[in-house]
């Protein structure tokens, strides 16, 4: 049981009035510690739903979810919030930075919900370090609207890393970026994976993006078609 993430027979069924709409139909997969995985599939294949379940934003209708050897399928909203805060980092396609807050404040924000209370100065310093790490040392007091798309995504990455997560979930992280910026972002993911040992799951439909991953999981119609060779 050395896998960091282990899913077994995950079903997710949405109830739309009278009709039951199954989105995930028995997904089983395992992701080891330190992997860089791409989750591919056409829209409607259930990859976003799977990512939400992986990121503890949602819970499966049935099935088991083992995280680091612990069954978390039946965790309540509070425990899942705690996991999202400490174990997972999220990077979204649309960046999801809070407008009218500086890059620094955006990066500090997840620490507000971490239950270890560091002094204010220490928290700011940590956020500044994080921004420096993603190459935005001089732009910490800019608001998102004053930053380019690539810079915004870097702020989002800094934010996702602030609580030292072990897993980074990126949902189409380059979907809104031009190709050269995309490359920079993806290179950054690679560095994070290799140097910091963070497990990264990239959700994408772009084969170029998937090319950066060491392993590709393909989804179709709510099922894992091909989980690649276990690295």
């Amino acid at each position: 049981m050395s896998d960091l993430i282990r899913l077994k027979d995950i079903y997710k069924i949405y109830h739309l009035g009278e009709i039951d709409l199954p989105v995930l139909k028995g997904v089983s997969l395992a992701v080891g510690r330190g992997e860089l995985v791409a989750l591919m599939g056409a829209s409607g294949s259930g990859k976003s739903t799977l990512m939400n379940i992986l990121g503890c934003l949602d819970h499966p209708t049935t099935g088991e979810y083992w995280l680091d050897g612990q069954d978390i399928s039946h965790h309540g909203p509070r425990e899942r919030a705690r996991l999202r805060n400490r174990t997972f980092g999220f990077v979204f396609q649309s960046f999801n930075l809070l407008p009218r807050m500086s890059a620094l404040e955006n990066v500090v924000m997840p620490m507000d919900y971490a239950h270890k209370h560091a002094p204010e100065a220490q928290r700011r310093q940590r956020a500044l370090d994080m921004l420096a790490k993603v190459g935005l040392a001089g732009r910490s007091h800019h608001q998102p609207s004053q930053l380019s798309g690539g810079e915004q995504q870097r702020v989002a990455i800094a934010r996702s890393l602030i609580n030292s997560p072990s897993i980074l979930l990126a949902d189409e992280p380059t979907g809104n970026l031009d190709s050269s910026t995309s490359e920079e972002i993806l290179a950054m993911f690679k560095v994070l994976n290799q140097e910091d040992g963070i497990t990264i799951i990239l959700v994408t439909h772009d084969p170029t993006v998937a090319g950066y991953a060491r392993r590709v999981i393909r989804m179709k119609d709510g099922l894992v078609q091909e989980s690649g060779g276990a690295a």
Binding site: N52, L57, P77, A81, R82, F92, D112, Y113, H117
Partner: protein
């Protein structure tokens, strides 16, 4: 999430749209301001009315001896000679609810100054505490007499304004002497104006002197002046001749004597009537309007004991108060104050609804923010606290501005309209508590709604 962080997040969110924040709090500002202004004006009015009531003696208790019944003839209330200055002392000593006590000896007779004379409505023999009892300590001129004057039977007196006008022609009477039944009293003070009492009697037509002087030098006994039927043998008028009745009887006038006149030696041998040290009534005032019932109870028990009344015996005295008038007047102001308060409270509720409205808009507007915060680890409780803190901060901000507005308004009212207002700490505390609870009550629903959002839906919200 730490409280300081919650507070910082809330203030930052409120600062983001200053105009909206100010407009939202306006309802609370007006509500709290109105509550404070109303309470201050109401308190001022109550205080003013209480002062008026005190000046006409609303807190005053009159202790009057009971009725004397001799051979089937009832002489009416006050005709018994049961009250003594000792009773006054006992009340002072033992009744906690009584502020001041003073004995009163009444007289009604002519007073003379130079070639003028006048019969004041009230000639009271009393002690210095009387001025406290009747809230009359503000003298127009001169000073009050002292306990020493009472002990020494000093022939000094205080006169009211009406007497100054009628007897002295408006000239300051200080240091002048008036004669009361041929006893010369030096005027040492002029009483402050008081006007008519509730019965329409002119209270400025009063002469005050030490009760001992009035008792022993002027009226000799209270009953002789108070009640014609009770004239007693101590009367000094001697009839030892029939010459007034039969002036033309043979022989020289004034030679017919009915009995031999007493020599001075013989007079000295005749035992004098005992000096009854009874007083006509005792005046007392309760510490406050609320203390009146307690004061009456205490006086009753003290006097029953000092008069050695057995259980079951009727009281040989009566305690009278002006409760009804006090009640009627203060209940009116209280009613008006409460009414105004309720009206002001309604505007607070309206302000609260306004806050709820804006908070609902704010939650909807910031759905994505809520989703993101949840995605990075905010628990539903964190979101609830955040929005609740915003609502409470809004209300407290409104409360503080409302306090300033209310105080300002009441200062303006007292300056421009000359209405009596009274700053009230209670009003400010109430305002803060009420605005905070308005924040909790009206902020809870929007905050709860925000906390119940699903993170996935919230993140996807456009």
């Amino acid at each position: 999430m730490k409280a300081t962080v919650i507070l910082r997040t809330a203030t930052r969110a409120l600062r983001r749209n200053v105009l909206r924040t100010l407009l939202t709090t306006l309802g609370i500002v007006i509500g709290v301001g109105a509550v404070i202004t109303m309470m201050e004006i109401g308190n001022g009015a109550t205080r003013a009315i209480q002062r008026t009531l005190t000046s006409i003696g609303a807190n005053t208790l009159a202790i009057i001896p009971g009725a004397q019944n001799v051979g089937g003839i009832n002489f009416g209330i006050g005709s018994q000679t049961t009250l003594t200055p000792k009773d006054a002392e006992a009340i002072t000593r033992e009744c906690a609810a009584v502020a001041n006590v003073s004995p009163v000896v009444r007289a009604r007779t002519q007073i003379v100054f130079g070639n003028r004379n006048w019969v004041p409505t009230y000639i009271y023999g009393t002690d210095p505490a009387f001025l406290e009892v009747r809230d009359w300590a503000d003298m127009d001129a001169g000073t009050a007499f002292t306990e020493q004057d009472v002990r020494n039977l000093s022939k000094v007196c205080l006169v009211g304004r009406t007497i100054v006008r009628e007897l002295f022609g408006g000239v300051s009477p200080i240091g002048k002497e008036v004669r009361i039944r041929n006893v010369a009293f030096k005027v040492i003070g002029v009483l402050g104006p008081k006007g008519a009492n509730m019965m329409g009697m002119d209270q400025d037509d009063t002469l005050l002197a030490p009760w001992t002087t009035i008792k022993f030098r002027v009226v000799a006994t209270s009953l002789s002046s108070g009640n014609q039927s009770a004239l007693n043998s101590a009367n000094t008028t001697e009839v030892n001749s029939l010459s007034n009745l039969y002036p033309n009887v043979a022989g020289s006038t004034n030679t017919i004597t009915l009995y031999p006149t007493q020599s001075s030696n013989e007079l000295a041998d005749v035992p004098q009537p005992i000096r009854f040290a009874n007083v006509d009534q005792i005046m007392a005032n309760a510490r406050s309007a609320e203390d009146i019932p307690t004061a009456i109870q205490e006086i009753n028990s003290v006097l029953r004991e000092s008069h050695h009344l057995k259980p079951g015996d009727l009281n040989d005295f009566t305690v009278r108060d002006m409760t009804e008038i006090t009640k009627a007047m203060s209940s009116t102001t209280e009613l008006i104050t409460k009414l105004l308060m309720y009206v002001a409270m309604i505007s607070l509720i309206v302000g609260g609804v306004g806050i709820m409205n804006i908070m609902l808009v704010s939650v909807t507007e910031r759905t994505r923010e809520i989703g993101l915060r949840m995605a990075v680890g905010a628990e539903p409780g964190d979101i609830l606290r955040q929005f609740l803190a915003e609502a409470i901060a809004l209300c407290l901000l409104g409360g503080v501005m409302g306090i300033a507005a209310g105080r300002g308004a009441s200062i303006i009212v007292s300056r421009l309209l000359h209405w009596p207002t009274m700053p009230s700490v209670g009003a400010i505390v109430t305002a803060v508590v009420v605005s905070a609870s308005v924040g909790v009550i009206f902020g809870f629903y929007p905050a709860w709604k925000g906390s119940r959002l699903d993170p996935i839906d919230a993140l996807r919200y456009e």
